[in-house]
């Protein structure tokens, strides 16, 4: 394949046209998965809304399985593969390694995604996202996942290959950009994730075909979560990279410290994946030493890293804004931020929601003993809708607004909706996460068709507040589904009917990256960031309070030893 380069006139970015096309296809495949997953979300939410109870039990469990897999695996990983290609070939201004293999990878992923969806909608693979043995799905459910994973693994290798190409062909000097470093973190976690997935899903496939007699349920859960949880840690690394990228694109923000931000990512590389143990804290047979070391990311070092990113991203924005003269008081820099720019507002809502709702709840439920309070309750999906929907999906959606003109060369239609969207979708998801966690605190089960236990000889009656919160989940969930659906329509319409924009200069050789010479005597002293510090301290206070309130709650339970 010949390589040509396009210089985007709107962003100044240089795209390898092979990589660019792959990015577009991955992004589109991701959005299609999001569409399927979103329709399924509506089915789930309208069934769990006690007053509506839309679907029959068998359909509900099928729809829930599809929702989990299309969202947590297909949408997010398709989009992340586009991010990997962007962070390597585009940001390093080089050619992508092995574009042909890139297409093999894409089609493996696409065929895998279709195969698994077919298996689910045939109706005999309603085994949930987790497909815990000994419950068995049809063989093509597992095979689809394996093909998808192999495809994704190839793109991870292409990413690493592209880093080698850029270094060999000297398209940049010094270290890779911070955003690329974040993508590298995501790539490394993805490789671990996929390898673990292969270790457990290949035997499971053989078992579903009858070649293996039995798979141990505890062994399955342990290894499967190295896939299931780590895949969500790819998201964390990727969306934090996108936070940095949007701060850089919108504000020209410079990281407060390369050393600090990269070290924080380094802690992710080393420890983030251990958190797979969060799912096994209330399981038999695994020792407390294993549980404590793993659930705490060694010694909460990955939480430390997230707290660092959570401060340095807004900190970098505050510095950039203060340099522009928004210097009044603690928060003028924030008040005068471009709240109407959907890339920024998505990113900021993503950051705050991820920290306050997803982060705090995740650490609480990841404490070994506290986990018993919420294990398998709807608190768990409450938590991960804060991390994966508010944190990851919202950041990806915001970035997509930037990509429509830059990558797809189309003018965005309905810009008025784009301004509103992050608030409509983001804030309704804040509410969904909160009320789900509320219902979970009262004990309401996740993955459960009927909280009234119809037909059970010994039905339990949940408190009225639990019903209220499940009703609110329905209401805010519906708002989120509808606004997300409109976002998909907006993007699809813009790609099909938006005004075509100028391609920009096409070249056969790349322009290497040139940097302005470092200011002699080091950079001017950047302004201090007191506003960010205040936000961080508010965060810490809520964190500490919520954490200890739950220990207090735990202490009121039956004693157990």
């Amino acid at each position: 394949m010949t390589t040509t380069y396009r210089i985007c006139p709107r962003s100044g970015l240089q795209f390898d046209t092979n990589a660019e096309k792959l990015m577009r296809w991955h992004a589109v495949a991701g959005v299609l998965s999001l569409l399927v997953g979103g329709i399924m979300a509506l089915g789930v939410i309208l069934t769990r809304w006690p007053a509506v109870k839309l679907l029959e039990a068998d359909v509900f469990y099928m729809v829930l399985t599809a929702h989990g897999i299309d969202m947590l695996i297909f949408w997010i990983i398709f989009f992340e593969m586009a991010v990997l290609l962007f962070a390597s070939s585009t940001l390093l201004r080089c050619r992508m390694a092995t574009p042909k293999l890139g297409w093999v990878s894409f089609w493996l992923m696409a065929i895998g995604a279709i195969m698994t969806n077919v298996a689910i909608f045939q109706g005999e693979s309603s085994v949930m996202f987790t497909s815990y043995v000994p419950m068995q799905a049809k063989w093509h459910f597992y095979l689809g996942l394996i093909l998808f994973a192999v495809g994704a693994l190839l793109t991870c290798f292409i990413f690493l290959g592209t880093l080698v190409v850029a270094k060999a062909e000297k398209t940049y000097e010094g270290s890779i950009p911070l955003v690329t470093f974040g993508a590298l973190t995501a790539c490394i976690i993805a490789i671990f994730t996929i390898a673990s997935g292969a270790v457990i899903l290949i035997p499971t496939l053989l078992w579903s075909l009858g070649y293996i007699r039995e798979i141990d349920s505890l062994m399955y859960r342990t290894v499967w979560w190295a896939l299931g949880h780590s895949s969500q840690q790819i998201n964390v690394s990727a969306h934090v990279a996108i936070w940095y990228a949007i701060a850089a694109i919108v504000f020209g923000a410079k990281p407060m410290s390369e050393k600090v931000s990269r070290s924080a990512y380094f802690l992710y590389i080393l420890f983030l994946q251990l958190a797979s143990a969060h799912h096994l804290l209330s399981d038999p047979g695994l020792g407390s030493e294993w549980k404590v070391v793993n659930t705490s990311y060694f010694m909460y070092f990955a939480v430390l890293a997230s707290m660092i990113h959570g401060m340095t991203v807004p900190g970098a924005i505050e510095q950039a804004q203060r340099l522009k003269g928004y210097n009044k008081g603690l928060f003028e820099w924030l008040r005068k931020a471009p709240w109407g720019n959907p890339a920024f507002s998505s990113m900021f809502l993503s950051l705050i929601g991820f920290g306050f709702l997803g982060g705090i709840s995740g650490v609480m439920m990841g404490a070994e003993q506290l986990n018993m309070l919420i294990h398998n309750t709807i608190y768990v999906p409450g938590h991960f809708h804060a991390t994966v929907v508010i944190g990851t999906t919202l950041a990806f959606m915001g970035l997509t607004y930037f990509l429509v003109p830059v990558l797809f060369k189309r003018e965005l239609l309905f810009p008025g909706y784009a301004k509103m969207f992050p608030y409509l979708f983001g804030l309704s998801m804040y509410m969904v996460a909160l009320v789900m966690m509320g219902a979970g605190t009262l004990g309401v089960a996740r993955r459960h068709w009927d909280m009234a236990f119809a037909g059970s000889p010994m039905a339990y009656e949940w408190p009225g507040a639990a019903y209220l919160m499940m009703g609110l989940t329905g209401i805010f969930g519906t708002i989120a589904c509808v606004s997300g659906g409109l976002w998909i329509l907006q993007i699809v319409f813009s790609l099909l009917f938006g005004k075509k924009l100028e391609e920009g200069e096409m070249r056969s050789t790349p322009i290497p990256l040139t940097l302005p010479a470092p200011t002699p005597g080091g950079a001017a002293h950047p302004p201090a960031t007191p506003g960010t510090m205040v936000l961080a301290l508010i965060f810490l206070t809520s964190f500490i309070l919520y954490y200890f309130v739950n220990w207090k709650y735990l202490s009121s339970l039956w004693s157990m030893a």
Partner: protein, 49 residues
């Protein structure tokens, strides 16, 4: 650059600039601490009598 006094790159920066070393660490640590240790624990569960 070349004519400037070349400052030695600190070890930690060299580590962070080496994607394959990072890849090695990022696979090995969770494989040992989470997967292998966990599988060992399960394999060593005693049999009920």
């Amino acid at each position: 650059m070349a004519d400037q006094q070349e400052e030695r790159i600190p070890v930690m920066q060299q580590v962070l600039d080496n994607p394959f070393l990072l890849l090695f660490l990022g696979i090995t640590i969770p494989t040992v601490l989470y997967v292998l240790w966990g599988v060992m624990e399960i394999a060593n569960i005693p049999v009920a009598r």
